[in-house]
């Protein structure tokens, strides 16, 4: 007789189907992140819906609040314009504000799920926040492409191999830390 052990040896990257609403929200968030158009807080809401998790939504919204606190606007186009002028948010400006951007990116990266498509959208959003969505020159395009690739890879790793019970609180903590840093700056 075969019995299921108390600690089942399930793979972390087990598949969970996305609902229709989640797929729609994911596609919408992907369009916004890729085109750098829209509102950072709306992007956070859509990412939360796509993840299907309140904690992921909170972390994504906190990342949007970091953008609002740092740039004074939630517009992704304004975020692109600002980073076009002063450089990527993660490497320019006061140290506290740059650290806040990294915290926001970490919050987004840790909020993702195991599915590759979800990780791609969360990674793109994280890259937008920390490395700038501007693509006005070959150099900035290279920076954005590299940042997006790294962020997507990290998000996919975090979604598949970091247990949700650790990743979600860490994401919220990173978001809260980002907001605190913005307020302190």
């Amino acid at each position: 007789m075969l019995l299921e052990p108390l600690g089942p040896n399930l793979r972390s990257r087990s598949h969970r189907s996305l609902t229709t609403l989640q797929v729609g929200a994911l596609a919408g968030a992907g369009v916004m992140a890729l085109t750098s158009a829209g509102d950072a807080l709306l992007l956070g809401v859509l990412l939360g819906v796509a993840a299907g998790d309140v904690e992921a939504g909170v972390a994504s919204l906190l990342a949007g609040l970091v953008v609002l606190g740092r740039f004074g606007s939630t517009s992704l186009a304004a975020l692109a314009g600002a980073q076009h002028v002063v450089g990527p948010a993660g490497t320019s400006g006061p140290v506290l504000l740059a650290a806040a951007s990294w915290c926001a990116a970490a919050a987004l990266t840790l909020s993702t799920r195991a599915e590759f498509a979800v990780a791609v959208v969360f990674g793109l959003a994280a890259a937008d926040v920390v490395a700038g969505p501007a693509t006005h020159s070959a150099e900035s395009l290279a920076v954005r492409a590299a940042a997006s690739l790294v962020a997507v890879a990290l998000a996919w790793f975090a979604g598949g191999w970091v247990p949700a019970r650790l990743a979600r609180p860490a994401a919220v903590a990173a978001g809260v830390l980002g907001v605190v840093l913005v307020l302190a700056a």
Binding site: L2, L3, E4, P5, P8, N9, R11, R13, H15, S17, L18, T20, V23, G24, A25, L26, A27, G28, A29, G30, V31, M32, T35, A37, G38, D39, L41, L42, L43, V45, L46, G48, G52, D53, V54, G57, V58, L61, L65, L68, G69, G72, S73, T74, S75, L76, A77, A78, A114, E115, F116, A117
Partner: protein, 409 residues
């Protein structure tokens, strides 16, 4: 002409309900929809129209539109006397349109009282619901009379709002209580007073806000919104939590320091529209107002804005938790379709709601349009391709062999 029609049509519906008792509720609903069309035309026209002792301005038309849609969406099982519901809508319409060129505070409160009494008689109500509405009406009436005594005018808002903050607070508190009472049960007759109550509060808000806002009152209203978002007894909600929380948070935004009137009106509108659904997921209608409020509070800064923002975040968290725990959304009635359309309009293009004033939602509009288009195209493509929207590796990687775990252990 349209103002008169918007006010009179529900009365015609009530008469038709008397003549055709078998289809009484349908007659009232149809007349409410016709009234909603009249109000919508006035809202889109966006001009100030005055006819005898009634008038229409954009915010008046919006409140009338909301009240009419709520009556059209009312649940048949909650209505015992459809005739009275039609008359209640007429009273609510008179309440929002009372006055020559500007809102008549006395007329608005009297008509609101009549609407509340008629709506209460139209359906079965718990004692706590009508008692809350009665207390609210009394407080609002005291505030309006005090304003009349101090400023010698029934007008709301006063053109000279220099030193009448106390009566203004009373009017807002009373109107808020009426609105909360109307949020007791979604798609019930008393919901008709919610847009009218929120309208009276919004008209009194400039008297309270002046130029710097009233921080303590905004914090109290935001705390009330937080309490409403978690209000339950023995696991059952005491009221329609999304609607009550959004309306109260909207009223808090109307008096918070800074320029948050637009976000406040969006939130109050979201609460009224949410009442027409009755499902927790309707809390999503507060997203545009919430985002606009966050932007306004961040621009203002300061302790008061931070406190209201924090309480607003708690409201959002509580409502999101309710949505996640909620079961499947029940199949809506065909009569809720117009309200559903208004909700989609609010969610996708709040920037076109020009009657609320500045709300800094241009980026939201652009993003929502692109997100809606992208989401729709993605779903359409998946349907056409006949694929399950899931991770590719779930289909590529073979499943574990049977008994693999048992072998390992």
């Amino acid at each position: 002409m349209l103002v008169d029609l918007a006010v009179a049509v529900p009365l015609v519906g009530a008469v038709a309900a008397v003549l055709v008792p078998d289809r009484a509720l349908d007659a009232v609903r149809a007349s409410a929809l016709l009234a909603a069309v009249c109000w919508l035309v006035l809202l889109l026209d966006a001009s100030v129209v005055s006819v005898t002792r009634l008038h229409s301005a954009p915010i008046v038309a919006a409140a009338g539109f909301g009240a009419a849609l709520l009556v059209a969406a009312v649940d048949g099982e909650a209505v015992e006397r459809p005739v009275l519901l039609g008359v209640a809508l007429t009273a609510a319409s008179i309440g929002v349109a009372a006055g020559r060129g500007a809102t008549d505070g006395g007329g608005a409160v009297v008509a609101l009282a009549a609407a509340a009494a008629l709506a209460s008689a139209a359906g079965r109500l718990a004692a706590r619901v009508w008692a809350t509405a009665a207390v609210g009406l009394i407080v609002a009436a005291i505030g309006v009379v005090a304003l009349r005594s101090a400023a010698n005018a029934w007008q709301l808002p006063l053109t000279d709002a220099a030193s009448h903050r106390g009566p203004g607070v009373l009017v807002m508190v009373g109107a808020a209580l009426v609105a909360v009472a109307g949020c007791g049960r979604p798609r019930a007759p008393l919901t008709v007073v919610v847009p009218a109550g929120a309208f009276v509060a919004a008209q009194a808000a400039p008297i309270v806000h002046r130029t710097a806002g009233l921080t303590w009152f905004a914090v109290v209203l935001a705390a009330a919104a937080t309490a409403a978002s978690v209000a339950a007894r023995a696991g059952r909600p005491l009221l329609d939590r999304p609607a009550a929380a959004l309306v109260l948070l909207g009223l808090a935004a109307l008096v918070v320091p800074g320029a948050a009137r637009g976000p406040g009106l969006l939130l109050a509108s979201a609460g009224a529209v949410a009442l027409g659904f009755g499902a927790p997921v309707a809390a999503a209608l507060g997203i545009p107002g919430g985002i606009a409020l966050a932007i306004a509070l961040a621009a203002q800064g300061g302790g008061g804005a931070f406190a209201v923002g924090g309480l607003g975040a708690l409201v959002a968290l509580a409502l999101a938790a309710v949505v996640v725990r909620a079961g499947a959304v029940p199949r809506p009635s065909i009569w809720t379709v117009p309200m559903f359309a208004a909700g989609v309009w609010l969610l996708v293009a709040p920037g076109t709601w020009g009657w609320v004033g500045p709300a800094a939602l241009h980026a939201y509009d652009v993003g929502a349009a692109r997100a809606a288009a992208g989401g729709a195209l993605c779903l359409l493509a998946l349907v056409l391709l006949g694929r399950d929207p899931a991770g590719w590796y779930a289909h590529v990687l073979p499943p574990d062999t049977a008994g693999e775990d048992a072998v390992r252990h």
